[in-house]
Symmetry: C2
Subunit: 400 residues, 2 copies
């Protein structure tokens, strides 16, 4: 008995990294509600409601809208392996870690993958893809809307038109974007899309909201070969998440409770209000960071409000600051991935983390840590500049 | 706003089906603890501890012992797709739903699958497999230790010897057995094994404990083709769950909290005590059922203590009783799957559900519902007979 480990007793963090984000207390409380069976009438109601709310979130009428029983990467794999059969031509847009992962997953699914690359931090225009799509006549084009490794915000509409004019389907990674900025599945004609519970939805990681268009479902139902994954096979999952409610696997009941409450909170706030809140806090953070001379990696106009990827200032050691934030303030931010390792910080303002108190606390903590490292401030007025943004919003509200 | 759904508020159930099982209150409380990042020093400690505890549970020294970020079926898929390459010969033993699923998953992984079948409810002897293994020289033999669809308890040791003498590897489904009866990974020379969090571990569904032997890992590291699933690729997961702790996917933090506490509780009780508790409650339930003339589907000596699959008595409507249990008593038991639909009840005594109060309550409720349906009791003394078992144990304890 003496070698028993201690009970779970985690430190309280302020989660401002690339996800998981801060979790609303209601969501944690929902996670601890009594477990019922996966075919219990109550759970079937929870599934129905969750599907309805996810449709509102994705702004879609797609029947096959549900939560994959795995994390965001399982959602990626679910969309890819259902749509790609061995030998299918696939175009994948790569400008960061997650585009690269998409290409890897599509290749493992037997796809004949052509990668179109852009430098990290940049986004794709339709012109960037025209030639490749004309040359390879793909069945599927895959693109990341919010590249979590770079903070770049990829516009989807123009590319969707190009893709569909070429007779292809469009697959979109919305892991970081969903719930933070508008994601318009029907309006943008997206055929398959996936997200994760732990970003702007502010639920713990473990579920991946996905949606498949009618065209995607028709393609899946008419495959020549079985889907390589039994666990992620949407033709089987359609019977569990569809009207029949036929047992497939044992759904993660309590995770579903958490996601149900997380999405309910967003709809209670109102989707547009929620996007506006993300934008406002991003602007305040950006003003503060700009005041102390910290630059974004993505170009103006393509910066994600919920994922602020900024350059580590010259002469400052990445890990010293991140460890200081964690150990002295309990604040988590993300470091750079891949080509950006050691050079970039990723500051998340996702879901419940996108709030004034987090922005001001983070700026105050960062200033203190930079000062301790001998950083030369031009003005050192990050808080004042951030406050200006909040005051301007507050003033506009009073007038409006 | 008016169309907002209500907050999660599930009914309190007594979960005596094939899983999920009753969840210990400590486990639900752990699920709601503050989320930390997936690379937070605290979470890395949780992972370390969880791996250590899972090794004790599986009774193994296997380095690659961890929890797959998905439900039990994802655990099945993880073990199969890592070990099976296209064209590999695989033998799968099928005597119920989950053996059949294994064959399906192995076929989708490109395996050249030979199925050996036995009637539902029966188990395999080494003799049943000898010819097929000699004829097909498989790379892998897969078998279910506790067939959740039939309640049959499959002995592993003799078959393991046969499999290894033939130069093959052994893959075992321990979804329902782990934590309820002894599972001896090292002693029985099992190469790959998977379980689920929601059976005898009494944690909500969502994680799948797995373990791979050194030989299995060597085989995986020397594959000719990449694992078809990126999400489940153990060669990548080894870097996250291994010493390097390299980011792979965002682990389901709060689910891990729950599993950590669930396994901790079992180790606190002591594994052998935990198995003895399952056996005692099974014997009491069996005595009670026998008293009212209800028969098991599996032969004596091959009945799983945690999953009591019994025949619906002649003239009694399956669903009337199950609905009565749920609606009048809040008790969930399982119906039959596949060939057993409508003919079999599956009464779970798994983990925290394996306790005297559940057994006595269930028998009392069942008697009342059967009586309401005009069932002819020979004696109608299920409670008395169950109590005899408990009294005998209690008496033995006093003497011992």
């Amino acid at each position: 008995m003496s070698d028993l480990v201690a009970r779970i007793n985690p430190p309280v963090r302020t989660l401002m990294g690339p996800g998981p984000s801060d979790i609303h207390p209601n969501v944690l409380a929902a996670m601890a509600k009594p477990t019922v069976g996966h075919l219990d009438p109550y759970y079937l109601k929870v599934m129905d409601e969750l599907q309805g709310m996810l449709r509102q979130l994705f702004r879609t009428e797609n029947a096959m809208t549900f939560a994959v029983s795995g994390t965001g990467s399982a959602g990626m794999e679910a969309t890819v392996v259902n749509l790609v059969e061995p030998g299918d031509n696939v175009v994948v847009c790569v400008n960061g870690v997650f585009g690269k992962r998409l290409a890897d997953v599509a290749t493992r699914a037997g796809g004949n993958v052509t990668v179109v690359e852009k430098p990290w931090g940049e986004v794709f225009t339709a012109d960037d893809l025209k030639e490749t799509i004309a040359a390879t006549k793909p069945k599927l084009v895959a693109i990341v809307m919010a590249e979590t490794s770079t903070g770049a915000w990829q516009p989807i509409e123009e590319i969707s038109e190009l893709v569909h004019n070429a007779g292809a389907m469009l697959l979109v990674d919305a892991v970081t974007s969903l719930g933070g900025v508008a994601v318009e599945v029907d309006k943008w004609n997206i055929d398959a899309i996936y997200s994760g519970s732990q970003k702007c939805l502010s639920c713990p990681p473990g579920l991946a909201p996905v949606s498949f268009s009618a065209k995607a479902m028709e393609t899946i139902m008419n495959r020549k070969t079985p889907v390589q994954s039994w666990y992620l096979d949407v033709s089987l999952l359609a019977n569990y998440w569809g009207e029949n409610r036929v047992y497939h696997h044992t759904a993660p009941i309590n995770m579903s409770y958490g996601l149900h409450e997380a999405v309910r909170l967003i709809l209670e706030e109102g989707l547009d209000n929620c996007f506006a809140r993300h934008l406002k806090n991003h602007q305040a953070l950006a003003a503060g960071l700009s005041a102390i001379g910290i630059e974004y990696t993505a170009a103006e106009g393509h910066r994600l409000p919920m994922l602020n990827a900024v350059k580590v200032p010259e002469g400052i050691e990445d890990t010293v600051i991140r460890k200081g934030l964690l150990n002295q303030f309990g604040i988590e931010i993300g470091g750079g991935l891949g080509a950006f390792a050691g050079k970039v910080w990723r500051i998340g303002l996702m879901g419940y983390a996108a709030r004034q108190n987090n922005v001001l606390l983070f700026l105050a903590a960062l200033e203190q840590l930079l000062a301790a490292q001998g950083y030369q401030f031009d003005r050192g007025a990050s808080i004042e500049d951030a406050n200006q943004v909040y005051l301007a919003y507050s003033h506009a509200k009073t007038l409006g």
